[in-house]
């Protein structure tokens, strides 16, 4: 319900922003277009109707074989209750952005939600999405001279790194739950 | 993964080495026996100094022969010997402790005998002889007046006593004794620290090496460290890197030469003994600085800079607090400072006035910082600097730093005891046992145990060492700026106030007046209460062990 309200407010504020909404599933989410993402993010953060002050997670999904990578921003609106009362969660929503796989970039929201700084670095490191305006745009988990972005579906496993030989690529199997 | 082949080869190599060692030592022993026989034969033929020299060399060669043959036997029968030793390790240890105590006493007795000799030996004209006496004179005295039977026993004893007349020989013996004592104290301190740490942390500490509560752990660690590889850093300053452990260790060792263990048991009774000790304690800072700088390691540098800061700053309140007993007693000589406290518990300098009590506490806190013990152990803060200034040292050099630390701990404990807490006197007034001081050996031993003796000094110093260990394992570490704040803004003003207060006390309060006696009584009662409280806590904790720790722990964890 709350996600529908947010969708309505966003549609009113930024026409053409909300491309799709899936608010009845397990993970209510709104798909936005990446062009006005910065303004939309600022709106979501600061506008009293939204008030999403807590960025839980930025996930990146590789939609291979489609030529898109999807970024999922999980947001939560925390607000204090009375003294001695636990804080309340007014709303949760997931914002999805579709970015082209090759050379896709998205404005960074690290100045709006500082938590995004390291999440965006991880998305760049493991998925290869660039974030414009990120204060410290470099790899975070892999070594600085790593080639490729490991979480992509078409990632080539390296045969060696710095002279150290690597093993063969893993295979999957269909297991049984006992 | 070693194949069965290489396993066998290693075992065979070990066996081979053992056999070779046995053969080698047996051969060495045989050679020494031969040399000894030749020299002994020569000694009986030649007389005079050459004969004496030959005799001494023969004795030396005989000793070495015996040692080599013993080593050969030990290696040959190492397995049954190991099993036997494991069983009798603890009795051997106790016998060794008692024997050490007695062997420390023997030289003092011998010196007394030798000093008395001059009075006993008289010339034909009846006048007492001047020292040094000749060997022949002592020999004739022994054969004549002392009733020693055989001639060559008398010769042997006379030679020994003749040697003991010379100050150089006495100094050599004393210095050897000091070095042995400091090593023993350091080894004991390391073992004890680990046991105390274990018991405070609800565990046992070393238990295996040597059998009974791991008493030989320090010995094993020392032997291990001796044979470790001497790692040298490529970027380090070679001369300074090699020098630093010695600059840290030698002052800690040297200050034992001024430390009196009893009224007559002191290597050099300096007029300014206290200043000498302070100076040597300050020299230790240099070793730490050199170590940190020459390691070419930023963490070591940080550690040594912190240490320089801390130790030098705490010297000031330390010095001020030391001036207080000096003012009360009026001398810098350590034996004088000790002898003042001969009249029992209430005559101890710490309980003379509230100012001396405060000075004792300030002194103790200052020594905690000076010895780099927690809560002031920033220089070796394990969790920030790995090991601080001695990170890059390994093997024997690191052992020297460690030895220096424990030697210093004991030395400052001894200093606190001598200055404040009764030196080598027991809480009973020495006047009560004055009659026993000149009696036979067993009376003098009893006097040493009950009234005054080196054992009391060592025991009280060990108590202060234990206090330092107790604090280390209980308190967290103080940050550097807080350390400096505590020194300059808390301890230093306090020390100055105590010094000023004591000055006025000395000026205006007469020693036997009512106020002085009252203050003495109150402070003594306070001190006694603290002691009794500690004992009460120990007894209470022992009796209520199960309830305090929790039944689960006592059932499931050993030694908890």
């Amino acid at each position: 319900m709350v996600a529908a309200k947010i969708a309505g407010v966003l549609r009113a504020q930024f026409p053409g922003l909300v491309l799709a909404s899936d608010i009845d599933g397990l993970h209510p989410s709104l798909t936005l277009s990446p062009e006005n993402w910065k303004e939309a993010a600022a709106f979501l953060r600061h506008d009293p109707r939204a008030g999403f002050n807590f960025l839980r997670c930025i996930s990146s999904l590789d939609l291979y074989p489609e030529p898109f990578i999807e970024l999922v921003y999980d947001l939560m609106a925390l607000e204090p209750a009375g003294p001695g009362e636990p804080w309340r969660c007014a709303a949760t929503v997931a914002i999805r952005l579709r970015v082209p796989r090759d050379g896709g970039s998205v404005p960074s929201v690290a100045d709006i939600w500082p938590a995004a700084e390291w999440h965006e670095r991880e998305a760049f490191d493991l998925m290869g999405v660039k974030f414009e305006g990120h204060p410290d745009h470099r790899r975070i988990l892999c070594p600085d001279d790593w080639i490729g972005h490991p979480l992509r579906k078409d990632y080539q496993y390296p045969t060696e790194y710095d002279g150290i030989p690597a093993g063969p690529a893993p295979k999957t199997s269909v297991p049984e739950t006992p | 993964m070693s194949t069965p082949d290489s396993c066998d080869r290693r075992v065979f190599q070990a066996e081979d080495r053992a056999t070779r060692a046995v053969r080698g030592f047996t051969l060495l022993g045989a050679i020494f026996v031969l040399v000894c026989a030749i020299l002994a034969f020569g000694a009986t033929r030649v007389s005079g100094v050459a004969g004496l020299l030959a005799g001494l060399l023969a004795a030396g060669a005989g000793g070495l022969a015996g040692a080599s043959l013993l080593i050969a036997l030990a290696v040959r029968f190492r397995e049954p010997l190991g099993r036997l030793l494991a069983r009798v390790a603890f009795p051997i240890f106790m016998v060794a402790v008692v024997a050490t105590v007695f062997f420390a006493w023997v030289p003092a007795l011998l010196y007394e005998e030798v000093d008395r000799l001059a009075g006993s030996v008289s010339t034909a004209s009846g006048e007492p002889r001047q020292m040094p006496l000749g060997v022949a004179e002592i020999r004739s005295y022994l054969l004549g007046s002392c009733g020693v039977g055989s001639a060559w026993v008398a010769t042997l004893v006379a030679s020994l006593l003749w040697l003991l007349q010379f100050g150089l020989v006495r100094d050599l013996i004393t210095v050897t004794g000091i070095v042995v004592f400091v090593s023993l104290v350091a080894m004991f301190g390391i073992w004890w620290e680990r046991k105390v740490a274990g018991r405070i942390q609800s565990r046992l500490g070393p238990m295996r090496v040597g059998g009974w509560h791991g008493w030989a752990q320090s010995l094993a660690d020392g032997l291990k460290l001796l044979q470790k590889e001497d790692i040298f850093l490529s970027g380090a300053d070679r001369p300074l890197f090699y020098l630093a452990p010695y600059v840290a260790f030698v002052p800690a060792l040297s200050l034992f030469s001024v430390l009196p263990f009893s009224a007559a048991w002191v290597c050099r009774d300096l007029e300014i003994g206290l200043i000498f000790i302070l100076a040597l304690l300050a020299l230790g800072v240099l070793g730490v600085l050199l170590a940190g700088w020459s390691s070419n390691n930023k963490w070591s540098l940080l550690g040594s800079m912190r240490e320089a800061c801390q130790m030098i700053s705490y010297e000031i309140p330390l010095g001020f607090s030391l001036l207080v007993p000096v003012m009360s007693v009026g001398s810098l000589r350590l034996t004088t400072l000790g002898e003042v406290q001969a009249n029992g518990f209430t005559s101890w300098v710490a309980f003379a006035s509230p100012f001396t009590l405060a000075a004792a506490v300030i002194f103790f806190i200052g020594t905690l910082a000076s010895c780099k013990r927690a809560p002031f152990d920033l220089p070796e803060a394990e969790s920030e600097l790995v090991a601080g200034y001695h990170t890059e040292y390994s093997g024997f050099r690191w052992a020297l730093f460690f030895f220096a630390e424990y030697a210093e701990m004991f030395a400052v404990g001894a200093l606190a005891t001598i200055l404040f807490f009764g030196a080598w006197y027991s809480p009973l007034p020495a006047a009560w046992g004055a009659a026993w001081e000149r009696g036979p050996i067993w009376q003098r031993a009893l006097h040493g145990i009950l009234f005054s003796g080196p054992l009391w000094l060592i025991g009280k110093s060990l108590f202060f060492v234990y206090l330092q260990m107790w604090l280390r394992w209980t308190l967290p570490r103080v940050r550097l700026d807080q350390v400096m704040f505590a020194c300059v803004q808390v301890l230093l003003p306090l020390a100055l106030m105590v010094l000023a207060g004591n000055s006025f006390w000395q000026l205006w309060v007469l020693p036997q007046s009512g106020l002085a006696r009252l203050a003495n009584l109150v402070c003594a009662v306070l001190g006694a209460l603290v002691l009794v409280a500690m004992l009460a806590i120990i007894v209470y904790a022992r009796v209520n062990r199960r309830r305090l720790v929790g039944s689960l722990v006592v059932e499931h964890l050993p030694g908890a």
Partner: protein
């Protein structure tokens, strides 16, 4: 909030305009509090730019324990992925298993029977106590108090013995799986748990006497590394770091999952000093508050455990899960309250037994991101105090 000026490591000696300061500031040192260090709680590398003892800037470098668990998750079925979740926050393995199992159960619509739910909560809260004991012990060790570490581990031995009797392992359990716990509780487990709780609860007061109110400890931690509530929320902190800043937010109470709404317990938060026995120097959001929240949480976990002991029913522990569990083409994002914060799993299914994507939101990863902000203009000794109070486990940071 302070002005944020970032430098990447090779350019660390540039000022805000990019001017090279290396010629002027010759007394500054670049110290590497390297991956191997006694107080960085794992393989964390902090590059400190210091002026003597004063740290001007601290840049964390992570990734030394990166095993790309998320890529592994795209190649293993959920049941096979449970041991990987063990090794994320290896000190709270039960909680990790719990979070992942609940995410997959939500995705597939699996209902776990009542007894299984209680067993899961018991294991989860016991592991919370064990994890907080490690954090308490190693924090004391960082600050030079050697003894509380041993006391914490002595208590932890009992918890690990309980876990060993239940599933055979002491650190990485893989006990809570899809559909409930793998095995039922052994005989005598609940009695041993009761005995442990009776033994443990007085110990918390002992820890407070030994460490929490110790003057030296308070002076080392009070007022050090203060994080305001707004900063804490903005930087995505969760768990005791968030609660230490005064934000009374705990997923178990505010967005209850599983059966946590049946238990009565409180959420401890950081309170200002001077009231209620709290030392005067304490500021809301400093290291002492974060540390004390953990101590108080241990008490609350013991409370929950006692209620579990009363309420646990008999019956089966596992649900009927098909032999080959096909994940529907949906996605779920589930967060659970771990000892270190909120552990989140985004599981995307595509109709096959193997998920399309498993994204792990590690709480320590988010908590550590604030380190570069608060480790400014403090002494080197404070770095250990701050990092220890954030309580990171690198398995979660790097995954």
């Amino acid at each position: 909030m302070q002005e944020r000026v970032y430098h990447s490591y090779p350019d660390l000696l540039l000022d805000a305009e990019g001017e090279d300061l290396a010629d002027l500031r010759t007394e500054e040192m670049l110290i590497n509090m390297g991956p191997q260090h006694p107080s960085t709680h794992g393989v964390l590398r902090l590059v400190l730019r210091t002026d003597g003892e004063l740290v001007l800037e601290a840049v964390p470098h992570i990734g030394y324990l990166h095993r790309c668990a998320e890529k592994i998750g795209e190649n293993l079925a959920p049941y096979q992925f449970i041991p990987i979740t063990d090794r994320l926050d290896y000190l709270a393995a039960m909680n990790n298993n719990y979070a992942f199992s609940m995410a997959v159960e939500q995705l597939c619509g699996i209902e776990v029977p009542e007894r299984g739910r209680y067993v899961r909560v018991i294991m989860s809260e016991l592991n919370r106590i064990a994890s907080h004991l490690v954090s308490f012990g190693s924090y004391a060790l960082d600050l030079g108090a050697f003894t509380p570490f041993l006391y914490g581990f002595r208590e932890r031995e009992y918890i690990l013995d309980l876990f060993e009797s239940a599933c055979g392992a002491r650190l990485t359990y893989s006990y809570i799986t899809i559909g409930g716990p793998a095995l039922d509780l052994p005989e005598g487990f609940l009695e041993n748990l009761q005995q442990f709780l009776d033994y443990f609860e007085p110990k918390i007061d002992e820890y407070n006497q030994l460490l929490s109110y110790n003057h030296i400890f308070v002076r080392r931690t009070a007022g050090v590394g203060v994080i305001s509530p707004e900063d804490a929320i903005a930087w995505g902190l969760t768990g005791p770091c968030l609660r230490g800043s005064g934000v009374r937010w705990d997923l178990r109470k505010c967005m209850p999952y599983d059966i946590y709404d049946r238990f009565e317990f409180e959420i401890p938060v950081g309170v200002p000093g001077g009231s209620d026995g709290i030392p005067r120097a304490v500021v809301v959001g400093d290291s002492w508050c974060r540390y004390f929240v953990r101590i108080a949480e241990m008490k609350q976990s013991a409370r929950i455990l006692r209620q579990c002991l009363e309420q646990i029913p008999d019956g089966p522990v596992r649900a009927k899960v098909p032999r080959v569990l096909k994940l529907p083409s949906k996605e779920v994002y589930f967060e659970a309250e771990n000892p270190r914060g909120q552990l989140g799993f985004l599981v995307v299914g595509d109709g096959s037994p193997i998920p399309r994507r498993v994204k792990i939101r590690g709480p320590s990863f988010c908590n550590l991101s604030i380190a570069s902000q608060i480790c400014r203009n403090v002494l080197v000794a404070d770095i250990a105090a701050i990092i220890g109070s954030i309580d990171v486990v690198m398995g979660e940071v790097d995954r």
